[in-house]
Each structure stands twice: as structure tokens, then as C-alpha cells.
């Protein structure tokens, strides 16, 4: 069994060129000897036997998984019940699963959990195929037991706008983002490519509160502007929308404070 597995593993492995199980065992044994010497109890037969047995176990496990994956790609059914949910995806697991003797007795914990997980998974798969995030959020909100989460924090945002024309602002921030170092990309006009982008937006985060400051130039065309809020790694953390109304300028600089946290932490 050991030789067959080694041969298969060495030739069929998907780990790429240069990887052989024999070399891996040799390298592991060198390290193990070094570790064992420090323990001052050298039983090298145990180390070698243990490492070789372990490599045999894991390579057999991986090989069986790959064989299962190949069967799925060829459309050969080989799973039962709950496994069927994965047959539609082109990324089957490499998991060989266990033989029937061990698949029946599920632990007490798994029994109530797995059907719920499967339902979630299948429902999310429906949305993951191109449905906008907003629809996803609405769908998920139906399941949110908001009232039960008494200690949850809403997202705290203060918005300050200086504008000659009336303006309304919507800020959507990911939970926890108010504590990060944030910046806003230039806001682009939603319907006019010729309109200049709105720049110079400042976001300061302090004490768990994000403060957004927007100064609208007097000649900025009216309309809806949108832009992304990102953290200092460039990861998207939310969205900023500003609607400048047309018509008479405001009597004074208008200060609008409106924050709409997208989710609870």
C-alpha cells in the first residue's frame, strides 16, 4: 500500500513540479531529528515511522479526494443526500468523505445545524450569481434578529456639508469602519460624464466616530454624485452619495447630518 501510494502521489500530485513525497519525508525527518535531539530522547524509529505513516495517510486522503473530484467533473454521481447540493458547482471538494460505516452517526451538534447551513448555502448561491449587493442585504435583513442583539453598536457618522445649493448626503459604512483610517474617492456625477468630479472630501475617524467633511464648489453642477469610501489598504468600506439640488442657492451654508449605517456590528 505504501509503495503504491507513493508512486501515485509522486506522479499524480497537483502540487507542481519539484514536489515528491520522498523529498518531503526526508526534509521533515531532518527537522524532526533536530527537534528530537533537543528533547534528548532520540527514538528515531518512532519519528520515521510516524512521519511516513502520516504522509501515507494524508496522501491517500488527498488522492481519494482528487479521484472524487474527477468523478464529479465526469458527471458520475458518487455522493449521497447532502453531498448532492454541491454537484452543481464546478468546484467540487477534494474531500473523499468517509465510508458508509462512519457517515451515519452524526454528532448531536451537527444534526440541527447542517440542514440550516444547507438552506443558507443554497439560498446564498441564488444571490451570488449576479444579484446586486443591495438585494442580498435586503434578503439577509429578513433574518436579522436585531432586537435580540442588545449590545450591538450602530455605525456612528457625522457629516458636515458646505454648499451654496441645498444638498443631501447619504453615507453607507461597513460596520466597524468608523474606527479605520478612511478616505473618499472623487465623487462622480451619476448621469453626466462631463460634470467635474467632486474632490477634496475629508474623512477623520476618532473615538469610533467618522466625520465626513464635504465642500461643494459654487459652480458644481446639480445632480447626484457617488463615490467609494476606502480604508488605507484600498479596501472598499462603504459608499458616499451627494445630491445637489438645482434652483436658488441656500441662504447660508447648509449642514446636513444624515448617516445610514448599512449594518449592525
Amino acid at each position: 500500500m505504501r509503495n503504491r501510494l507513493n508512486a501515485e502521489a509522486d506522479t499524480a500530485s497537483s502540487k507542481g513540479a519539484g514536489y515528491t513525497i520522498g523529498a518531503a519525508i526526508d526534509d521533515s525527518l531532518r527537522t524532526a531529528r533536530r527537534l528530537a535531539e533537543t528533547a534528548d530522547k532520540t527514538v528515531m524509529g518512532a519519528v520515521e515511522r510516524g512521519v511516513e505513516t502520516a504522509y501515507t495517510v494524508i496522501e491517500e486522503y488527498m488522492l481519494r479526494g482528487r479521484e472524487t473530484a474527477r468523478r464529479f467533473q465526469q458527471g458520475t454521481p458518487g455522493r449521497t443526500d447532502m453531498n448532492e447540493g454541491r454537484q452543481g458547482e464546478n468546484r467540487p471538494y477534494e474531500n473523499p468523505w468517509l465510508s458508509a460505516q462512519w457517515s451515519a452517526p452524526m454528532s448531536m451538534m451537527m444534526a440541527p445545524w447542517m440542514p440550516m447551513m444547507k438552506m443558507w448555502q443554497e439560498s446564498m448561491a441564488t444571490f451570488a450569481q449576479g444579484t446586486p449587493m443591495a438585494s442580498m442585504a435586503e434578503w439577509m435583513n429578513a433574518f436579522t434578529p436585531g432586537a435580540a442583539y442588545g449590545r450591538s453598536n450602530g455605525t456612528s457618522v457625522i457629516v458636515q456639508v458646505s454648499s451654496q445649493a441645498p444638498a443631501a448626503v447619504t453615507v453607507e459604512l461597513d460596520a466597524g469602519a468608523e474606527s479605520m483610517k478612511l478616505s473618499a474617492a472623487p465623487l462622480q456625477h451619476a448621469s453626466s460624464r462631463s460634470a467635474p468630479a467632486l474632490v477634496g472630501i475629508r474623512i477623520d475617524s476618532k473615538d469610533g466616530v467618522a466625520r465626513v467633511r464635504i465642500t461643494v464648489p459654487t459652480d458644481q453642477p446639480a445632480g447626484l454624485y457617488r463615490g467609494q469610501i476606502q480604508d488605507d489598504t484600498g479596501m472598499r468600506r462603504g459608499q458616499l452619495s451627494l445630491e445637489i439640488e438645482s434652483g436658488a442657492p441656500a441662504a447660508a451654508a447648509k449642514k446636513t447630518t444624515r448617516a445610514r449605517p448599512r449594518k449592525k456590528a
Binding site: S14, K15, Y19, D27, S28, T31, A32, L35, A36, T38, A39, V43, A46, E48, G50, V51, T53, A54, T56, V57, I58, Y61, M62, M82, Y93, E94, N95, W97, L98, W102, S103, M108, M109, M110, P112, W113, M114, M116, M117, W120, Q121, M124, A125, F127, T131, M133, M136, M140, A148, Y149, R151, S152, N153, D174, A175, G176, M235, R237, K263, A265
Partner: protein, 348 residues
């Protein structure tokens, strides 16, 4: 390459475990409902998480994500979910194993009874779903779905491993080999403890583009070394730091590497006595039985044997670490993961 410093575990591992563990727990408690029924459910749900623990699993997830370039926030919800599932499994494992202590205190079912404890474990595992669903705002629906799929697989692998362990004990199977033991540990321990956290972390760090298969190999060697060391501590450890009754595995009839080695080397009479002892219900195994098994294990060098196997597996984990983390830029998180193979076999 594994550095020469791998021989000594400095303060990096405990430092990161403390840092990421505290951050994980902070968010975890915000996912625990503060509502009724408190006495029979929600106060108890918080019991095991409040007892502490090393937070090894969530820390490994966060560190892997960061080593691959993700910010902390991108991984912390998955880490919370892992810790919640771990605590849920502990409650049920304690019932199934008839364990009496957990993290230095009576196990939940000892103080609250089995029915309520099962329900608390169920609730904890359900609560683990919410942070995974919340991932969608930061990670997007595709990666969120992938992580849920990964969690489903981990849960199944863990239950299958637990089934093997429980089945061997119920049927008093005596011809378990080292290979059988490692197959059981691969599923029961390694998937939740090391494979799943590293796969999730790497998927987050690469936005789902990494080949997750090599993490099974790395996680297996690391997790198996972890489990063997844990079994050794159950026999030889310090009660205060171990947090469970010493010798409990023998009492529970667990098929550990030491027991398997003993069964392979015992005389016919000793084998018969072991068989008779393990055939009895846990309550009928005495402290004298446990002492006798311990003495036989020492006489046959079972602890030394298991310790050497753990060293070998740690060496294999180092080798696999180089293959999947070696090309990443140096970072505190990468060094933390690199230190783990030696840490798991040196921890007390």
C-alpha cells in the same frame, strides 16, 4: 525556509495569541444575544467563551489572512465564527466523553445537566452563522459563500472524526493502528484546529484565488502534532494550566497514540486486562485502573514514543509551511505561523 530560530519559541506566539484572542473575544461577545431566556440559555452560552482559552484557532485564521495581505477586519468575523463553533463542539464533546472539567472548572453538563447543555451547544453553533453572513459586507457574496461552504465541510469532517472516536470506544475496538488514529485525528482535530483556519485565512487574504489544497497537508501535520501533545499533557501536564482532569483520556477510554502503542506492545495478559477495563462503562473504571494503564505506558515508553512522533509531524509541518508560506514577504504574522510547529510540541 524555516529559520534557525525555529528551535526556540520566543514571546511571539503567546503575544499574538493574546492580541488576536482578545480582539476575537471582544467581537464574539457582541454576537451573543443579551435577552431572555438568560438563565437557561444566553448566560450559559457565554460560559465557555468567558473561561478563556488560548484562542489558537481564531488567531491562526487572522494571522494567515494578514500574512496573505488582508486587513485584520476582513478576517475577524470568520475568526469569531470559528471560536463559537469550537466552544459549541467543546460542550457536546464534554457530554459525549463524559468529561468532568473544562478550562479549570466543572464542565457545563456537570453544573447544568445534559439536556440544557446540549441546547446551549446547539445555540452556540447557530450563533456562529451570523458573523459568517455578516462577512458579505466586507468580502462580497462570492467569498462569503465560499467561506460558508468551507465551514460546512469543516463541520462534516469534524463530526465524522468524532464518530470514528466514539464508535471505537462504544464497540471497544482494540486493533486500532497508528494509521487509523491519524485518519481520525485528521478529521476530528485538524480540520477545525488548523486546516479550516488556515484555508479560510488564505482565501480571505487572496480574495478567494488561492489553491486551498496544500493547507490540508500543512494543517494535518500541525494539527496532529498539536493533538498528540494535548494527549501527552492529559497524562503528564500541570492540572492548573491544562484545565482538565489528568488521566481523563484513559478514564474515557480514548484511543490515543499512547494507548495504541501500549496495545501493540502489551503482553497477552496485559492486553486482556486492558480489554476488560475498556469494555466497562466509564463510571466503572477506577482510579487504580487509570494508574495501572499509566504505569504500563511508562514501562513501554509510550509517552516517549508519542513525543517522538509529534516531533516528526512538527518537522513535516515545517516542511509544508515552507511550500505554501515561503514566498510571502516577511511579516510578524508569517513568523507567528512559522513558529507554531515547535510551539505546539513545546507548550505545557
Amino acid at each position: 525556509m524555516a529559520s534557525a530560530g525555529i528551535m526556540t519559541v520566543d514571546g511571539l506566539v503567546p503575544s499574538i495569541l493574546e492580541e488576536y484572542g482578545a480582539a476575537t473575544r471582544d467581537l464574539l461577545f457582541r454576537y451573543l444575544p443579551d435577552t431572555e431566556p438568560r438563565r437557561y440559555l444566553y448566560d450559559l452560552v457565554a460560559d465557555y467563551p468567558r473561561r478563556g482559552g488560548r484562542a489558537f484557532r481564531p488567531s491562526l485564521c487572522i494571522a494567515t489572512a494578514r500574512a496573505f495581505g488582508a486587513p485584520f477586519e476582513a478576517a475577524v468575523r470568520s475568526a469569531v465564527s470559528i471560536e463559537l463553533i469550537h466552544n459549541a463542539m467543546l460542550i457536546h464533546d464534554d457530554i459525549e466523553d463524559e468529561s468532568e472539567e473544562r478550562r479549570g472548572k466543572p464542565a457545563l453538563h456537570i453544573t447544568q445537566g445534559v439536556p440544557i447543555s446540549i441546547n446551549v451547544g446547539d445555540m452556540l453553533s447557530m450563533l456562529a452563522m451570523r458573523p459568517l453572513v455578516d462577512n458579505r459586507t466586507l468580502l462580497g457574496p462570492q467569498l462569503t459563500l465560499r467561506i460558508i461552504e468551507e465551514t460546512e465541510r469543516m463541520a462534516r469532517e469534524s463530526a465524522e472524526g468524532q464518530a470514528m472516536d466514539l464508535g471505537w470506544r462504544r464497540d471497544n475496538v482494540m486493533d486500532i493502528t497508528e494509521s487509523d488514529y491519524l485518519q481520525m485525528v485528521l478529521r476530528k482535530t485538524c480540520w477545525l484546529t488548523t486546516i479550516h483556519p488556515t484555508r479560510i485565512g488564505a482565501l480571505i487574504g487572496t480574495r478567494g484565488t488561492v489553491d486551498a489544497e496544500p493547507f490540508i497537508r500543512f494543517g494535518f501535520f500541525l494539527g496532529a502534532a498539536f493533538q498528540i501533545q494535548d494527549d501527552l499533557l492529559n497524562l503528564e501536564g500541570d492540572w492548573r494550566s491544562y484545565g482538565k482532569e489528568l488521566g481523563g483520556d484513559i478514564h474515557e477510554g480514548k484511543r490515543t497514540l499512547m494507548l495504541i502503542h501500549l496495545l501493540e506492545n502489551a503482553t497477552s495478559d496485559e492486553h486482556d486486562r486492558l480489554h476488560a477495563m475498556l469494555a466497562r462503562p466509564r463510571a466503572q473504571r477506577s482510579a487504580d485502573d487509570v494508574r495501572w494503564v499509566c504505569a504500563r505506558m511508562k514501562a513501554y515508553g509510550c509517552m516517549d514514543y508519542a513525543r517522538q512522533v509529534a516531533h516528526g509531524l512538527a518537522g513535516a509541518a515545517e516542511h509544508e509551511f515552507d511550500l505554501i508560506y515561503g514566498s510571502l514577504p516577511d511579516s510578524r504574522d508569517k513568523r507567528f505561523i512559522e513558529s507554531l510547529p515547535s510551539w505546539v510540541i513545546e507548550r505545557a
